[in-house]
Structures are given as C-alpha cells and as structure tokens.
Symmetry: C2
Subunit: 165 residues, 2 copies
DNA sequence: AAACATTTTTAGACCAGGCTATTTTTTAAA
DNA sequence: TTTAAAAAATAGCCTGGTCTAAAAATGTTT
C-alpha cells in the first residue's frame, strides 16, 4: 500500500501495542523522570512535590505511584517518602539522558520557540536504537562545530532572502 | 526548579492543553494523514479502507469522521464517500510533508530498526517552527553529502571499537 | 425484484489517566 | 496534649479513542 511492509496504526494503537509489550506509558515515563529529578539530591521526594512539578493533582500521583510500585520502579508505602528502586533509578537516568540528548539536538538545529514542549512530546517516542543514533550524531556535531556554524549561516541567509513560511 | 521558566506536564497534560487551543489530537492527525494518502488518487476514500489501513475497526472511523467533519476537514454524509475539504487537504499535505521530513532526517542519521514506529510517534509532537528547523537542516545535509558520509564513517569506526550499548 | 453479501452506522462497554470531594494520617502550633 | 493545618489516600466521576454486537443501508447476484 503506502511504503511496503509498513503497518500504520493510530497513536492509540501504538500505545496499546507497547502496553502489550509491558513497556511504560508516556505518563509513567513523565512521572518516573520527574521523580528521578526530584529525588536526585535527597534520595527521596514527596507526593506534593511531584504533583506541583507535573501540574497534576495529588490523587493522580498516588494512583501512578501504585502502578510504578507494581512495576517495580518505586519503593513506596502509604504516607511515606517516595524512593526509586535500583531499576527505577536506572530507567530514570536513561529517561533524563534521552531528554537531554533530544534537547541538545533540537537546540543545535536552531529550535527556540517550542523547545521544551517538543522535547517533552517527542522523547517518549524515541526508541533505544534511534536514541543511539541521535547520541552519535550530537557527539559528531559537537566534535565538528564548523558544521553547525555553517548551517546557522545558511539559515540566516535564508531568512534574509525571505524564503520562510 | 529544573530548568528555569519551563513548566512540566504529563503527556496527558499536554494533550489537554492543546485540546484547549483547538488543535487536532494525535489520532485525528493519523486519520487525516491517512485519508489524505488514500484519497490522493481518486479524490475520495471509504470507511473500510481507512479502517484497514490504520488497523482499527470501522466504527472507530465513523466516529472520527464526525469529529473531523465538525472541525471542517472532511466532507461527509452517511454511507457516502469520504472527501477532504480544501482545509483538510491543506492540513493533510502538511502532515504528510512533516512525516516525510522527519523520516528523511532519521534515515540520514542512520535509523533503521524502528524507523516507521518512531516517525509515527514523533511526528505529532513536532511543532511548526521545529519542523521548519528540521526542513532546513535536512536541506543543508542534502546539499553537503560529505557531512553524512563522514558521520557514517565515524559511526562505523565506533562499532568497530565496540563502544556500543 | 428478491435474496444475499458487504459496508456503514448506532448503541453501549471499557480503559487510562486525569479530576473533585471527602476521609484519613501526619506534622506543627498553642 | 490537644488542636489546627497540611499532606496523602480513597472513592467515584469524566473524557477520548478504542472495541463488540446488532441494526440499517447499499450493492450484487440471479
């Protein structure tokens, strides 16, 4: 049909597929990444802090903590402190690294306006092998700063010529 | 807190925000993009074809058609053919272009394994200004093929050295 | 044109991840 | 140590995008 051998699904369809593979949902990743950030200093965080940071209400956090606990990423008991398990820390570190890599790449190609939103949306959909490519590419660009310099130059010229949407 | 001035939300949180801005949901984009592909030849398509292509059941298509009709992207009456409005065509073309741009970029940096899934997931989260950066960057890389050549070379060397995850 | 097959629609259920309102527990102050 | 305030948990509702089962419309034979 379209590209041969490629099956299309809706956004929901992909979500269901990855749930079947027992992967984390996008929201679970958001919570885990944030818990990882917040517990970096003290080794723990609290429901209220997570709620405030993610702009959700506390009951949403509690509910998600049960899920992350069941999945083995969070050590948690009622009214207690939130701590990641070693597994949770490993994943949290991975997620944060993925976030930062993506962010750095987008900055390199000149994204400014919706940087944060785009990173937050895109990160959940970057598979591990793709992340590896991105990492390699960012490292490559970092090692040859003239490339980005030249690209910036082209972009600037383009703006001058008024070729923009 | 984290990066100053950046507000974090969960995946759902962002979805709600963009709904409030009256933007299309990810699923709506998937349907619209597919209708655009399928109706490219004949100028129309059918519920069954959309359902088969997106691996959903026909009632899901019907329901979504009502929404896209309300939003003014689809011309549609019961049991009839599905046609895009001019507005729908414009957006469809934009979505397809975004898809292809992203795909080309990922291919350039050497993505092979999950190319299709990653494109399908990422595309919905690429804002218009970010897409513009990507377009510029892909054009730049296309105009200087030595860059990608050299990058490929580095990647290959890296594999040789066994520095991979 | 009658009968059968296919396509589409309708109706209603389900699930994740939010929410609000309320109750329970913990913490801080008097 | 009793009381007030803050934090967390529970219960239950809502929404979007799916599904299935059943009904309705359309198309295709013969």
């Amino acid at each position: 049909m379209n590209e041969p051998g490629e099956k299309f699904y809706t956004a929901r369809g992909y979500a269901v597929l990855s749930a079947e593979e027992d992967e984390l949902t996008s929201s679970m990743e958001d919570y885990l990444e944030m818990i990882y950030r917040l517990s970096a200093q003290e080794g723990y965080t609290r429901v209220k802090d997570v709620a405030d940071s993610l702009h959700v209400q506390p009951p949403s956090v509690t509910k998600m903590l049960h899920k992350l606990h069941e999945k083995g990423q969070v050590r948690y008991e009622k009214y207690g402190l939130i701590r990641l398990t070693p597994e949770g820390r490993r994943i949290g570190a991975y997620l944060l690294n993925r976030h930062n890599t993506l962010r750095e790449f987008l900055q390199l190609i000149g994204v400014k306006e919706h940087l944060h939103e785009d990173v937050e949306g895109i990160e959940h959909n970057v598979s591990t092998p793709t992340l590896q490519c991105l990492l390699d590419f960012v490292a490559f660009l970092r090692s040859k700063p003239q490339i980005i310099e030249e690209f910036r130059h082209c972009q600037a010229k383009k703006i001058e010529r008024g070729n923009w949407g």
